[in-house]
Symmetry: C2
Subunit: 277 residues, 2 copies
DNA sequence: TAGATTGTTAATCGATTAACAATC
DNA sequence: TAGATTGTTAATCGATTAACAATC
C-alpha cells in the first residue's frame, strides 16, 4: 500500500517518519545483542529490549524489507547492518559543534556519536577565551574558521549549542557555508531555507511534559475545587486577572481531577516514553 | 467529542499527548512576547513564532479552554498563565540530578530549568573524586544521601545522567525513594513500575535521524544502482554476508533513490522538526 | 511433520488540516 | 457595520495494534 510497485529487489521507499525515529532504538538493542554474540533474535525479544511492542517492530521492519526468517527470527548481525545502512550510518559523517559551553563539551565527549559514524570535525566558539582550549582532545577553534572547515572537510551536519541569542546567526552561517542538516540545542526556533533539515533538542521540554503528568498524579480529589471562572472580559482585564492569580502563585492547583488523573502509562509516544512491561 | 461532559466551568481533560508536547513551545514563544511587552497575539503570529501551523495551534488551545477573543487574538499574559498552570509550572518542582559528568554539569547550569519552576534540589554522584566538588553553585553529594534528600525535599522528579551501565540501578533507587517521574539521558531502556513516568532524551538519536535524511539528499541518481540482493539464506549465511559487506564498508550507498529522495520538509513531527516558512 | 515466528492485512485510533460559522 | 480572528467541524491522513495466513 505504501510500497512502491516492487521490482525485483527494490525495497520500499517512503519509510514513515515514526519508523525512522525508532530505527536508532532497534539499532541500539541489536548492537547490545551483537556484543553478547547473540546470533538471532525474535521480534518479541527485540521489541522488549527496545521498549516497543512486537507488532510495531515487525511493521517497522517490513518497510525495510523482509529480513527475518519465519519460525526463527532475525539474524542480529545482518539486521545491524541493514538498519545501519538504512540510517546512513555505514558512511562517515563529519560534524561541527558550535558553542563550546557545558553542553558543547558534553557532546564533544559523547561516545554515542563516534560509535555511529559521526566524527567531530571541529569545535567552534566565538569567545576568544575559549578558543585555543581543548575538549575531548580537540582544539576549540574560532568561528572565523567555520567556512573553511565546512568546505575542506565536507561537513554537512552542524550542531548548535550556543546561547539562544546567537543560534539563528550561527545557523545562517552554517547554511551559507554548505551545511544542510542542523541539530539545534538552543531554545530558539530556527528559520532555514528549503532543503535544510533542522531537528531540535530542548532539554527542558521533556521536563515540562513530566511535570504535566506529575501534576495529574498528585490531584486525586474526586470532587475537585474549581478554578476561578475564566474571565470573559477583554484583554487588559484578563491580563490583570492573570497577574493577580500569578501573585497568588505557589498554591498547589488541584482543580478538576478528571478521568485520567490517575497515572497513565502513555505507552510509546513519538518521543518514546519507554515503559516496558 | 474528546471533551468530558462539561459542567459549569470545568475544562476538558484528556489533552492529547501531541498537544501537551507542544505546550512548552507555545509557552516559550509567549514568554518572549511577554518580555517585549506585546499585549495580544493572533493564532497566526503565535503559530509562526512557535514554528507550527495556526490551525493546529487553535485546535491545541481549544483543549485548554476558550482563552482567545474573536477578532482580536489572545492576551499574552493570560495565556502564559494558563499554559503554565496546565503544565504544572506554577508550582515548584524540586529535582535531583544523578551523575555529574559533562552532561550533568550542563543541566545543572541550564537556565531553562529554573525559569520554569524546576529547582535543583541536589546533585548526586557515586564517584568519591567528584563528590564535594561543586557545579552551578551547588555541592555534589554522594549517592548515599539520595534517599534522605528525596524524602526531606519531597522530590518527585529525577534526572539520570549517569553512564548507561548505572542507569537502571539509579532508577530503581530513585523509584524506591519515592520519585515518580524520571528524565533519562542515559542510552538505556529503563524498566519502572506502573505509575512511574519515564521520558528519554537520546542525544544521538536525533543525529541519526538527520543522517537518514541527509543520505537521501545526496543520492539523486534517477536510475540507482542496486544493492546486492538480500540473501534468502538462513541466519549464519546472512551474517557472513553482512560481515563481507561491512568490510567493503565506507563506500557511499546510492541504491534506490526513490520518490522521496528529494529533501522532504517533514513538517511538524512529534519530535518537532521546525521548518517555518 | 509440528511448532514457531514472520510479514501483512484490516480495523481502530489519534493527529492534522482546511474551511467556515460564530462572534468580537 | 465591516473586518478580523477565534473555536469547531469534518474530512483526511498517518500510526498503532491484533490477528492470522504464510512459511521456515
Amino acid at each position: 500500500m505504501r510500497r512502491t510497485p516492487v521490482g525485483r529487489q527494490t525495497r520500499a521507499r517512503g519509510i514513515p517518519e515514526a519508523t525512522v525515529a525508532r530505527l536508532p532504538l532497534y539499532l541500539r538493542a541489536l548492537t547490545a545483542l551483537s556484543e553478547r554474540s547473540v546470533p538471532t533474535v525474535s521480534s518479541e525479544e527485540l521489541a522488549a529490549a527496545a521498549g516497543v511492542n512486537s507488532a510495531k517492530l515487525r511493521k517497522d521492519f517490513s518497510y525495510l524489507g523482509s529480513y527475518g526468517t519465519r519460525g526463527v527470527g532475525y539474524d542480529v548481525e545482518y539486521l545491524v547492518y541493514q538498519i545501519s545502512r538504512e540510517l546512513g550510518l555505514t558512511q562517515d559523517w563529519p560534524v561541527v559543534i558550535v558553542g563550546i559551553g557545558n553542553l558543547g563539551h558534553a557532546l564533544a565527549n559523547y561516545g554515542g556519536f563516534a560509535s555511529r559514524g559521526f566524527r567531530v570535525a571541529a569545535l567552534l566558539d566565538a569567545d576568544p577565551t575559549v578558543v585555543g582550549s581543548s575538549a575531548a582532545g580537540l582544539p576549540v577553534r574560532h568561528m572565523d574558521e567555520l567556512e573553511s572547515i565546512v568546505e575542506s572537510q565536507q561537513v554537512s551536519i552542524g550542531v548548535i549549542t550556543t546561547p539562544p541569542g546567537a543560534a539563528q546567526q550561527v545557523c545562517d552561517r552554517l547554511v551559507e557555508a554548505g551545511v544542510t542538516s542542523i541539530l539545534n540545542f538552543a531554545p530558539t526556533v530556527l528559520t532555514v531555507p528549503d532543503g535544510v533539515d533542522v531537528r531540535k533538542v530542548d532539554l527542558s521540554i521533556e521536563l515540562q511534559i513530566l511535570a504535566f503528568h506529575e501534576q495529574r498524579k498528585a490531584g486525586e480529589e474526586p470532587e475537585a475545587e474549581e478554578e476561578p471562572a475564566p474571565s470573559r472580559a477583554p484583554g487588559p482585564v484578563r491580563a490583570a486577572a492573570a497577574k493577580l492569580r500569578r501573585a497568588a502563585g505557589g498554591a498547589k492547583e488541584t482543580k478538576d481531577a478528571g478521568k485520567d488523573a490517575k497515572a497513565e502509562p502513555r505507552g510509546e509516544s513519538e518521543r518514546s516514553a519507554v515503559m516496558p512491561a
